[in-house]
Symmetry: C2
Subunit: 593 residues, 2 copies
């Protein structure tokens, strides 16, 4: 992640390119069944293409974006490209390392063929005759561009919002060409609410008398008010209610006492009319609305089975247009398909647009994912050397696990355990943790992790998807231990649970003689600030397993000092053990084996 240079100027002055793509005689066949005879694509690139052409990152822009993702078109250019914060030397997409390409999408109005382009058959703008396009068509056109540029493999495809849909579609269609995919604030299909907003936006354009059925290019009038209205609706959905309150509240303008939010929306609407085309807005929102992985591939499973790329799925906490549930749905589908995927959620108060404006953690997680070595690579970075007791912990757990098996680690922390298990025991491992920093650590080690609360259940994980589910020093901090144990044995054939033993001799003395809640090396907190809210002795745990019909296959105990080891030595495990390691499975009467 160390940049060769962290030039604050970013990529500097950049050049816009435009290429005519050579098409076969039948033209470019679209998914709707119609064909385009001409195809022009506008693109830009940043950084240097390596000799092996193996350092290419393709950036997919969102609904109203364009090819100008970074840098400035001339020295006095006031506004840089739309993702300039993310692209440049030492930035999230590091141009010291990668060759970054971004291209305008099919149907757009920024240089790639769209409704405003000239139809070679008529010599006039397509207008109403421009075909309906799909996200798949958009991806196909960008692939043609890359092939035209001599690029046949991509280090990564990345996009947010509708750009994330394109990245996903790249992964499904051209997985062999794309090593990694990053989908930010995106989805496999829009929600009914998001559809509804788009429908009302299109209704505004089509209700505008100046729209003229879409054939307004030769007319003096353009459907400005309708397009502005659509943009205003869109803008509300791009911001979280919190940021709208903090930016505008109920403030009024001094001159005409209108609400500030009114003049903001009006400004955004008018600015958009100057830079965007109404028919492009219609075609592109239709493509976005129609995108539905399930509809296109029959089932979500069928689509996921085609995926070969490694995925990073990033949700934004305050995004209500492409809400985190949709990123979770996508991650769940990829997981169920056995794909290599990490998932995280960023605290981003700005709303859906946060990926454009609030990129602190985004750059970090994305650059980590792009830079991490392959999971199959044993030389993966190991940023942290485990302590002795951690190493002991790892070896005890490893002792329970068959080499080469599939493991899920609940509450994986910084990934030290799964990293150890992958390197030393050749397992396939997924980490689960609630903390973003831990997810980034795991990804940095070249491993996989999903960010979720173990207490909320493991809804993202399919039944019996793993051989072992590990719950290491986590049982006592969960809110519903019984539920978590059930979930472990739902997602895995066996469970490995390690926990501090509340029944150890010193804890008993603490309470029995001193009349205080015990504090020890394994339970270092005071009663009121402890995360350890469900304490158990070994006997308690064994009794719960009995009640739950859970078989205990192995028990190992460790003690921190001589008294404990002595007690263990004479078989008094509940009195002597500091830490307990238990391997469990569903009782035979309910076994899935």
């Amino acid at each position: 992640m160390t940049a060769q240079s962290t030039d604050n100027q970013g990529v500097g002055v950049v050049e816009a390119h435009s290429v005519e793509i050579a098409l076969p005689a039948e033209g470019l066949l679209l998914e709707c069944g119609r064909a385009l005879k001409d195809l022009c694509v506008a693109y830009e690139s940043y950084g240097e293409l390596s000799e092996a052409k193996d350092n290419v990152i393709f950036v997919c822009h969102a609904l109203t974006g364009d090819a100008h993702a970074a840098g400035r078109h001339h020295a006095d250019d006031k506004s840089p490209g739309w993702w300039d914060d993310m692209i440049g030397p030492g930035r999230g997409l590091d141009t010291n390392r990668y060759f970054v390409v971004c291209a305008n999408i099919l149907g757009g109005c920024k240089g790639t063929t769209g409704p405003g382009s000239t139809d070679p058959d008529t010599g006039k703008a397509y207008g109403s005759t421009f075909p309906e396009i799909t996200v798949g068509d958009i991806v196909d056109v960008h692939r043609l561009l890359l092939l035209h540029l001599g690029i046949t493999s991509l280090r990564a495809v990345i996009g947010g919002s509708m750009g994330g849909m394109q990245a996903l579609e790249w992964g499904i269609r051209y997985g062999e060409m794309v090593e990694r995919c990053v989908c930010i604030a995106s989805t496999m299909r829009l929600s009914a609410q998001a559809l509804a907003f788009d429908i009302v936006g299109r209704n505004a354009i089509e209700s505008d008398p100046d729209w003229q059925g879409g054939d307004y290019y030769d007319s003096a009038q353009r459907p400005g008010p309708g397009l502005a209205q659509a943009r205003m609706i869109g803008h509300i959905t791009y911001l979280s209610p919190e940021v709208m309150t903090s930016k505008f509240g109920r403030e009024r303008r001094e001159d005409d006492s209108r609400f500030q939010v009114e003049s903001y929306l009006e400004y955004q609407g008018n600015k958009f009319v100057d830079r965007f085309d109404a028919n492009s807005y219609l075609r592109i929102t239709n493509a976005m609305d129609s995108y539905d992985v399930e509809e296109q591939y029959g089932t979500v499973e069928a689509a996921m089975n085609q995926v070969k790329s490694r995925f990073l799925v990033v949700a934004l906490s305050s995004d209500w247009l492409f809400p985190p549930e949709q990123s979770i749905e996508l991650s769940t589908a990829l997981l169920k398909g056995g794909r290599r995927i990490s998932y995280c959620i960023l605290q981003a108060p700005y709303g859906h647009d946060a990926f454009l404006v609030d990129i602190e953690h985004l750059a970090d997680v994305v650059s980590t994912f792009l830079g991490a070595d392959s999971e199959d690579n044993d030389s993966a970075a190991s940023p942290h050397v485990p302590s002795d007791s951690e190493a002991e912990n790892h070896e005890f757990i490893a002792g329970f696990i068959a080499p080469g098996s599939r493991v899920i680690d609940l509450g994986c922390g910084d990934g030290a355990l799964i990293h150890h298990l992958v390197r030393e025991h050749g397992v396939d491992a997924l980490g689960v943790d609630i903390d973003l920093k831990n997810i980034i650590n795991v990804v940095e080690r070249g491993r996989k992790a999903i960010q979720c609360d173990v207490d909320e259940g493991l809804a993202m994980v399919a039944d019996q998807a793993y051989d072992y589910a590990i719950l290491s020093q986590t049982l006592q901090v969960v809110h519903r231990p019984r539920h978590v144990l059930r979930e472990m044995l739902r997602v895995a054939k066996e469970g490995i649970v390690t926990f501090p033993n509340f029944g150890r001799w010193s804890h008993r003395l603490y309470l029995g003689v001193m009349g205080r809640m015990p504090i020890s090396k394994s339970l270092p907190f005071e009663w009121h600030n402890t995360p350890n809210i469900h304490l158990a002795t070994l006997k308690d745990f064994v009794e719960l397993c009995r009640q739950e019909g859970i078989d205990i296959l192995d028990i190992e105990c460790t003690a921190d000092n001589a008294i404990g080891r002595l007690l263990l030595g004479i078989g008094l495990r509940n009195l002597g053990a500091d830490r307990i390691f238990v391997r469990i499975s569903r009782g035979n009467h309910e076994s899935h084996d």
Copy 2:
């Protein structure tokens, strides 16, 4: 709450009324400074007015509602009034008991004077010349109606959404006339996001060429598309995203393969154009957007100081247009003003419109609030006789409390304790509980309660607003005991904490000898399913108070059996006590006294 009749027919056939209100020579002076010369009000009523005229409930309708709240206009009338589920014999507003009145609002288009009414000066519709109105104007007009009907006092005013704004304004302006106010899914002022949606809706109407600046009444064309567009936007905001998904998802129509949600919105838009007037929509949304208690009364405090009515504030969980935070903000302001207020939140998946369609708990909580006797009345219902141990608990706590003081009970349960303290010790008491059923129980006893999680802090309660904060058998179930203790001594001069003693002799034996987590009468749960997640001994508690600079003013202990009582008798409190009662205050070095 037992109805004399639970006629499934509701109120049956009802009659619409319209009255001309006699105005002084200068007409009806509006808050904008202009006056109306004529005033007509459309209203309906249900139930019988009592001889003392003391059973009147006035219902305030929302944005696009009207006076027809219940019943049918003729025997074959297919759709009943807009709140028919709520109004009728045995319903939430019980017409066997109350005389319910609903009237169309000023500026409307359903019989009360509005932009489509004839201007007596010109003999034509007001159109663009109709003045801007306010929520205050709307309330004033309804007060004139009631005075016209000979009604000078109201049992209650109730409304949802913009109707809740009117109910609030009734309470501020005419508190001496209104005994109780119910505000459902409402606010003291719209959020920036809600303003933004209204702004875009008005923009759609005003951009419609057929709007003609508002003077379209003599024209063949009306601004149908613009009004439909505004309604479509509104409709999206009235539903939760979840209900949009479950109602429509991404389903398409069979005939033209359009999304179902598209034809739903189009239908709603067109239906609205048939029944509503664009200028009324503009004037009423402007009144709603401009409503701001702070702006109108200088400060929120100044407004709340005028309130005399008892309030019930009801939030709806999935409402994102008037979100629960806004009901909490209103409740907080009322509480800080020392007003009599209860607050609850209903689980209502439908969204903002839930108060119109999903009224199961709403009818219950509203009828309970309306039917409860006054707090000052000693004969208030006592639905539950406390058990012996409960009664002992109450007496121990009462022993700590000065008669006539102000008390807040955190985790108040069904309100038995505060009911006891109010009746027997003349205190002023507020209950706090997380459970709706408990809030309803407290309200039924004629007491006050707010629904919130003690763990989230008591942000609704001002500093030092109470003499005593009680935390009875709740310390061990909260997630942040230290934080809760701090909050107690922020909102009250003294705290009274009762908790089970983990240090009692039998607990020590359980762990020490049996090696199991203790189970007892005071701690009846197993380790894995216990809500008691922060257990402490008396010594532990005393040590925490020392760390926190909290003074312990009194300690009382009780024991359940002879051994415990014996130990208490010889002064071994940490060994003998089952339950501990402690009175605390901020140490003198930090005292607020």
